[in-house]
Symmetry: C2
DNA sequence: CGTTAGCACTCATTAGTGTCGAGTGCTAAC
DNA sequence: GTTAGCACTCGACACTAATGAGTGCTAACG
């Protein structure tokens, strides 16, 4: 049996309705809808067919139908046309992202919030590996005796700053000249190649040797931070409580526990790196706890090559249309903001 | 009727038990406890007295007793002696706080996490007004064409950084000399007095005039940020789900909505500024939605005079003992870390 | 032959009922 | 003043019946 025009229409109507209400949808409901003009009885026949084809599930006899994962898959693959965000909304998002200082981390944090606000689902953003960014500038700013703020600027803007200990007796001017040397030596090297430059720099001795060593150590640590927990940022972590599928406390706790394990979360969300929006419905994401969730992800780019992932986690009946539009737009917006400094 | 020794003992036992189990406690439970050696019947008589005195409530006849708000009040005022944290634990907390770079905001963010981890309740930290901090150093770091990172260092360490636009044609050395001028002019002034220095600085014209104006504008904006939403930081915002009192979805949603309105939250948590731990039980915090919650707060100090608040929100039957110990310690630890640069 | 109305059937939901047991209050004895 | 005993209360839980939304099937209709 093949899906004809009307079956598509009915399936679409069922999915739309179920996304909004989370209640199994009956034949009457559909027949009342504009666009389909036949009686409930006819709809029932069609529904029966759709069920046989595996697109609908029936929680129990005499309940309405619920879209199956296969239906969602069909829906996102064929039935769905992404709608553009209104220019109003685009502006609101961009404003929000720009309002923060342009450091990678705070932009991402703020993006996670915006993403969750715009979609009403929980958002997850994985920060990119920063190794391929090229250092443009290193500068030390005095903070107190023997303490300085090290700012590393790359071609994607300010990537990291860290407070480090410096040898005694260095004043602001000393730190500045040291900064110049550091910048000279490190400029244009990718962050991940800094380790190789290490021995070169150490040979260039004198009083700043200790400082150089320490600075390099910090840079190395920062690079490794790419693999640590802080690079997965969750926005709207309690949004899911708004949805009836989680009114069971156990399911809610379950969901939460996934959010709390940043490692698992990173694996679940991390995408393949291209800019396309990818959708994993129910069991397609390989986490038993999330077998009734969908994960939608997109990518963003920092600098030339590094990519990060931004995503949404919600019930399988999520509003894919909306989510895809927002993710697509935000992926681009993030890339633009984080790669502004070409 | 007065409270004698034994009544105190029994009340304490009831509160302790209820804090742990959240189940109304019966006379048998108490009589089995060490420290009280009489039969359930006797306990019942005492309980009956305590109820009449307003220290216990009975959800319904033939349920156990539940401590009233008045009981909690008595408990925290008289029955409770704060236990010191184990040195092990103190170390763990301090490590965690120190592991981040020493910027005020990230320390606070990290503190909110630690606080929530250590107590198992939701934590709230209100950032201090930074106006009384004294500027020690201002430095501009080039980020890209016409873009610079402005770092403001105060006597409490790095307070704020922001990316600002600068006039065209300034290289790193130009920015450095401008930084020196800025530092010279602004050094030792409290952040809040910067506005007054404004006209002085503008008179000192030449090519950096525009930059100065802009820099000052940014500083001013940063100062005002003291009144904006980003200065209330919540840790463990979904912790409350672990407690049976919130297994009702509506209560949970209710609680969440309070957490989400940062303005209300600030008002609810903000303390009187002295370092004492203050406790508001149930209706004592003037929020109808939180009439079955307690809020425990302490203060921390940044620099000489600014104070911020750190607090815990949880069910009235919260583990006050533990919470007070942690808050007390963390208040001090935070103050130490944020005022390190004297 | 596709569409529709009618009707019997299913089953989750809800309200109502009965039982169980933890816990109390009271009374009388120690 | 303390304790044991006993009747009583009331939530929790299990079971039952009534309700109604929704289906599947069949027969009639255009």
């Amino acid at each position: 049996m093949q899906l004809d025009e009307r079956k598509y229409l009915i399936l679409q109507a069922i999915i739309d309705d179920y996304i909004n209400t989370a209640v199994p949808v009956g034949s009457r409901t559909i027949s009342r809808k504009a666009g389909v003009s036949c009686s409930p009885a006819t709809i029932r026949n069609e529904m029966s067919d759709l069920e046989e084809l595996g697109y609908l599930d029936q929680p129990h006899t005499s309940a309405g139908r619920v879209p199956s994962n296969k239906a969602y898959r069909l829906y996102v693959d064929h039935l769905l046309k992404a709608t553009k965000l209104s220019s109003d909304e685009r502006e609101r998002i961009q404003d929000h992202l720009l309002s923060r200082s342009k450091q990678v981390e705070s932009v991402i944090r703020s993006a996670a919030e915006v993403l969750s606000d715009a979609t009403k689902y929980t958002s997850v953003i994985v920060a990119p590996k920063l190794g391929t960014l090229r250092i443009r500038h290193v500068q030390l700013v005095p903070v107190a005796d023997r303490t300085a703020l090290m700012v590393i600027v790359t071609n994607a803007g300010i990537v990291k700053d860290a407070v480090i200990r410096v040898p005694d007796g260095l004043d602001a001017d000393d730190l500045y000249s040291i900064s110049r040397v550091l910048t000279q030596r490190l400029a244009d090297k990718p962050l991940e190649a800094v380790r190789q430059t290490f021995s070169d720099l150490l040979r260039n001795a004198d009083q700043s040797r200790k400082l150089l060593g320490e600075t390099l150590a910090v840079i190395e640590r920062k690079l490794e931070a790419g693999g640590d927990a802080s690079d997965v940022i969750v926005g709207g972590s309690s949004r899911f409580l708004e949805y009836p599928e989680y009114s069971d406390v156990n399911k809610a706790r379950n969901f939460l526990s996934v959010l709390e394990s940043r490692d698992r979360l990173r694996k679940l969300v991390s995408g393949n790196g291209d800019m396309e929006v990818t959708i994993r419905i129910g069991p397609e994401n390989h986490a038993p706890e999330l077998s009734d969730c969908s994960i939608v992800t997109a990518s963003y780019r920092v600098g030339d090559r590094s990519t990060g992932t931004l995503g949404i986690i919600g019930p399988t009946r999520m509003n894919y249309n909306r989510v895809i539009s927002v993710l697509d737009f935000m992926g681009r917006a993030l890339s633009d903001i984080l790669s502004e400094y070409k």
